[in-house]
Symmetry: C2
Subunit: 154 residues, 2 copies
DNA sequence: ATTGAAATATTGCACAA
DNA sequence: TTGTGCAATATTTCAAT
């Protein structure tokens, strides 16, 4: 992984559909070379995927919440994580340090759906209780931090 | 926005670099038709962008934390949000209901960097204090919830 | 990493359902 | 209006170097 790889990554983080030809022009390489580099970044697990980002309310998922998950004393957190993964509405899941075992981000259509999700969460073996924080608005999300892609050498 | 649009969106959420030709094969439309539909979804703000997802530690951002922001009594939350947006290491920013005004997700290279970021946060006008939850591991993140894309009619 | 070449994809446009 | 088919570019993807 050199500076060129990092520039390609930064470009793809901002513009996931950039063509290899475009990327090549940006970094001063042929499309083929970029193609091969990106392929290697993908198979080595540096780039894990490409996703379209959608305005949640326009796909009927207007209610976002951040939910802290408290485990029971005897819980196996691995099992809890798997149970959380089985719920479609759980978009992200973080294992955290502190009183809570996990913090998850949940996106649903309505507060009624949120209530249903909370019910499902509480019924998961190993979950003692939950603490819900409702998101009023998302100022920004998943913004690429490219601060480390600063190369001195060019 | 019809069922075909929803299927295209679902496909692009999973596979952001899918070609129009590929998408067309999936939904039974010509590449031209898909091209036009996607263009409209983009200009109407349904699809807001495409991004490569990168393994954070492989780009030197191995430390993730979720930080609750408490505002002062006199704070203008709009100003606070703008100040938060100016910090590169703040990847996501949610305005929330509850004791905290915002919850932000911060990604940095080391705990030293985290300490520096916390210092920057506390120096922002309008922020009274912060509450940091360290992420031990990310089980999954930004997973597309396609549960609402269930069409009965096909 | 490059070049060259064949296969594939993009994208504008005329026209048809 | 939305989709199709076509044609001109452009891109992808290989093999050879």
């Amino acid at each position: 992984m050199d500076a060129v790889d990092r520039r390609i990554i930064a470009a793809l983080r901002e513009h996931g559909r950039a063509t290899y030809a475009e990327l090549g022009r940006q970094v001063g390489l042929s499309a083929s070379a970029v193609h091969e580099r990106v392929g290697k970044l993908e198979t080595s697990g540096v780039i894990t995927g490409y996703h379209a980002v959608v305005n949640p309310s326009s796909v009927g998922l207007g209610v976002t919440s951040l939910i802290g998950i408290y485990s029971t004393d005897t819980a196996d957190d691995e099992d809890v994580a798997e149970a959380l993964a089985r719920l479609d509405e759980v978009e992200s899941c973080y294992r955290v340090a502190g009183d809570e075992s996990f913090i998850v981000k949940v996106r649903v259509a309505t507060v009624d759906d949120l209530e249903r999700t909370l019910g499902r969460l509480r019924r998961i073996e190993g979950i003692a209780r939950t603490r819900t924080t409702l998101v009023l608005s998302t100022r920004f999300e998943g913004r690429p931090n490219t601060s480390e892609v600063d190369d001195g050498d060019e």
